[in-house]
Amino acid sequence: MKTMEEVLQDWEAVIGLEIHCELTKLQTKMFCGCKLEFGAEPNTHTCPVCLGMPGALPVPNKGAIENIVLAGLATNCDIEKHTMFYRKGYMYPDMAKNFQTTQGPKAFCMRGWLDLNVDGRGAQERLFWQDLAEGETAENITRTADGYVAHVGITRIHMEEDAGKMVHIGGGEGRITGATHSLVDYNRAGTPLMELVTEPDLRTPEEARLFMQKLRQIFLTLGISDCSMEEGSLRADGNISLRRRGTTEFGTKTEMKNINSFKALHDALAYEICRQAEVLEEGGQIYQETRHWDPSKKHTVVMRVKETADDYRMFPDPDLAPYDLSDEFIERVRGMLPELPDQKAARFAADYGLSAYDARHLVDHRFSADFFEAACAAAGDRAGELAKPLANLTLNDITAYVNANEGIDFATTPLTPERAVQLVSLLAADEISSKQAKEVFAAVLEEDKDPHAIVEERGMKQVSDTGAIEAVINEVLAANPDKVEQYKGGKTGLIGFFVGQCMKAMKGQGNPKLINEMLAKKLG
């Protein structure tokens, strides 16, 4: 198979996402009073309504409507005031009524969009954006200083109820194939579920990943879901087709269902691009089918071929009156909107003088934005001067630490915002080297002590005394006359060797900047 980079020279990938998000912050289910709780004993949070017993009727959860309107407003959607719930019929034991209550042609939220900042390595997946001048727009992207912004349309966000969970027994890995019987847990049945559908505006797996990540950040900020991809409260279906560069007609798409991590979303789409290209280039045909991404084998396999469109026999649910949202309600919900990640990034840039790049990557994650802000608050009057090093600390050391320690809540580690301020102050005042700063950072987390105390204990203060440095330099140069000759003969790269020797002699505590300067002068 060709690599994706090779494929994308000739083919354009057209990607759309369907993202399901359970509204886990609500107390009760969508249409009954049963408690929402992940991981409870099977079938302990059920009642006649979510079990679809004869005669039971749904009553909508008003909190869920509030949540979805919040989500719509945060993603630039028009809020549809007059909507209806529909019944979507399909017979399967995970849906006790054998129909799912969902929304019809009009959803609560219609016609929204999000802008994605794509930069760094991820931007390289898209071609030709470098040909644009900064600020120039082509198709749905606009060139920025360090990448591009992709404008991604959101078709709709609608409200529906989740199904129960099936467990197949006797087959391999819980699969239905070969199973002797199946169990159903209806605790999840009736969980309020939002489905967001994007326009086919995404062109690279990286854009799809960023969209998902940005959406997750927004939903977390809104406080409407825990967005746990492991527990399935946030999951994505990826639709993808290829077309020859320069053509506009859509190819036949395949759908990858229930992808439960950002990496899996990226890798599944990347694999599918390569697979489809290979099929097409060999003269084959892509079938409209649902495929399953197997992260261990790193490939997709067919789950179900769609020969005909499913007929769900949708019609307005007669048990639920049409929904009319008042302007007052919508305005009240708008008033509940918290500061969203994009707004926060703009504020960070304006208030702390950060670059746009730093500001938006700080808000990539809740912990980094919150930590940065807490540290700036702890810095008090010095926030302006320390903001940049605090941003660096957060984006580099802290982010690396959090990535390496999965599931950690950074707000509870020994590195408090106050200690972060101490650490960057030591660095800013040249009292420790950046290398030493890394050691202090690790030690604070390890030993739960103040940076000052660690520096003191380890005697690791940086030596910036020019007399002391000069003495060491003289020793080093005297001990390596041949290297001095070579340097003078033009091998200036040897400066690194001399700096290293000096640092070694000073047990790593010399100020590297001064050593560099003084060496250059001496040898110069």
């Binding site: 004869p54 005669g55 009553v59 019929g89 017979m91 054998n98 026999r313 019609f315 649910d317």
Partner: protein, 499 residues
């Protein structure tokens, strides 16, 4: 003095208050009559499940409270009243079969709101009543457990689908019963059995716990032998229910204007209905006679038009099956209900179980609904049917600018014999005067006006009122009751002269 089984609500409660008899005696009298007349070969077959123990326990609780010095009205508005429920209503401790093999052994998982409200009001539950399977029918002949016989003529049907509810009241088994009406299923059997039979405005009574047929059409209402008893029962079961978001906060006292008479009331007559094909002369004459009585009592007769009513039947047979198809899809044999064993795949089990569990009329409506909702067909039928619904609702709104109630037949004819109508289309026409009301969601009731001159069988006239003005029809019905008397117990089940 009346026998216990003949008494109305007020009479029973007066007797309980005066300690002339106990609630246990009331319950015993009712259960004795049912045992003697309902189950044996050739009996009425109104009951699918008989609950004498439950009745005795409820009655004993009433007696305890009476002994403690409470009056019946303090105990509850239905204290000591023998009642029974159509078998599509969930009642904990009973099966809810909907007269279908599919649910033959289905134990209620909870109690329907309207049933619970009668129990909270002190009713004595006698059991669950026969019906057309899943309420699909107009004769109770589609019951999987045998038809109910009309107490007026045991060779004839009691109407349907609430045939058991109507027959139980006409035979004097229960003082009040509850039925449900999706296209006429309360009013038509009310007419066939000469009982007062009320289908309130959609939303007056909670549907929670009623096994749904057509969710936008179904409404629960009482059968009784007097207008006052029906009004008292409706008082007890009406009002908003947090478990049914289509129920409304109704706090009307339906007995409030029963004594007012019809003087000054405007009674709407729809000429087209009176000329309708299939309307028998004896029914037509009774409607005209009832109108004339009301005019004599001071009401004003006005002609009104419901121009789109002729489309109601077509719209009903689109909307009803569509909703029924969806509502009945939950009966899949997986967790409850009839399951045909021996199938290794889910699809095979679904098909075999549903084919055997549902009777022919249920299968017909499911297939019809499945077809009508399918892609490409939906726009041709379902959408126009909804438009017809809007037009009919507007017709009624316009008609009620000119009148307070509309008077029309409940059924085109009196009760027919078993097997007499076998063609489904002809059976559907039994509902020709009732379905437009369900389409619009308004209230309507059938009131007995004596026997037909040709068939010597009961005839009811239908009174309809505007949405949430159900008190209008009760007022007019009470006036007709003044003329025609309360609904009698069917002669074969009544006390003989001199007894």
């Amino acid at each position: 003095m009346s026998e216990l089984f003949e008494m109305g609500i007020r009479e029973i409660q007066a007797g309980l208050a005066a300690k002339e008899f106990s609630a246990v005696e009331v319950a015993q009298a009712a259960t004795d009559r049912i045992e003697a007349n309902d189950f044996q070969d050739g009996g009425v077959n109104a009951f699918l499940e008989f609950t004498p123990e439950m009745a005795r326990e409820a009655a004993a609780r009433i007696d305890e409270q009476l002994a403690a010095g409470k009056t019946p009205s303090e105990i509850g508005p239905l204290a000591g009243i023998p009642m029974a429920y159509k078998d599509n209503m969930n009642l904990l401790g009973t099966r809810t079969t909907c007269a279908s093999r599919m649910l033959e052994n289905y134990e209620s998982a909870y109690t329907a709101t309207c049933v619970q409200r009668t129990l909270d009001a002190g009713a004595i539950p006698l059991g669950k009543l026969n019906m057309d399977e899943f309420a699909f029918g107009s004769s109770t002949e589609t019951s999987a457990f045998g038809p109910t016989r009309n107490p007026w003529d045991l060779e004839r049907v009691p109407g349907g689908s609430s045939g058991g509810s109507a027959a139980a009241v006409a035979a004097g088994f229960a003082t009040v019963t509850l039925g449900s009406d999706t296209g006429g299923s309360i009013r038509q059997p009310g007419s066939f059995t000469g009982t007062v039979a009320v289908k309130p405005t959609y939303g007056v009574v909670s549907r929670y716990g009623i096994v749904a047929f057509g969710s936008s059409l179904d409404q629960v209402g009482p059968f009784a032998r007097s207008v006052e008893d029906a009004a008292l029962a409706l008082n007890a079961i009406s009002g908003h229910d947090a478990l049914d978001c289509t129920s409304q906060p109704v706090d009307t006292d339906f007995t409030a204007n029963l004594a007012e008479g019809v003087k000054g009331m405007r009674i709407g007559i729809v000429p087209a209905f009176m000329q309708a094909q299939g309307l028998t002369p004896e029914v037509k004459d009774k409607v005209a006679e009832a109108a004339e009585h009301m005019r004599t009592m001071g009401a004003e007769l006005v002609e009104v038009d419901l121009p789109n009513a002729q489309a109601a039947m077509s719209a009903y047979y689109v909307l009803g099956p569509c909703e029924a198809f969806s509502n009945l899809s939950r009966f899949d044999s997986v967790r409850y209900g009839y399951c045909e064993p021996g199938h290794k795949d889910l699809g095979g089990q679904y098909e075999a179980s549903r084919a055997k569990g549902f009777g022919p009329e249920a299968r017909r409506r499911i297939m019809l609904g499945s077809y009508l909702l399918s892609a490409g067909v939906y726009d041709t039928y379902y959408y126009p049917a909804q438009q017809v619904r809007t037009l009919i609702t507007q017709d009624y709104t316009r008609a009620y600018e000119k009148c307070d109630v509309i008077l029309l037949p409940s059924s085109p004819r009196t009760a027919f014999k078993f097997g007499e109508i076998s063609d489904p289309m002809s059976m559907y026409l039994s509902d020709m005067f009732t379905v437009s009301l369900n389409i619009a969601g308004n209230g309507g009731m059938s009131v007995p006006v004596g026997l037909g001159v040709d068939t010597n069988l009961p005839i009811g006239v239908q009174l309809q009122s505007p949405q949430f003005k159900d008190e209008n029809m009760f007022r007019a019905a009470a006036a007709l009751e003044q003329v025609y008397g309360k609904a009698p117990i069917a002669p074969a089940f009544a006390r003989k002269a001199g007894e």
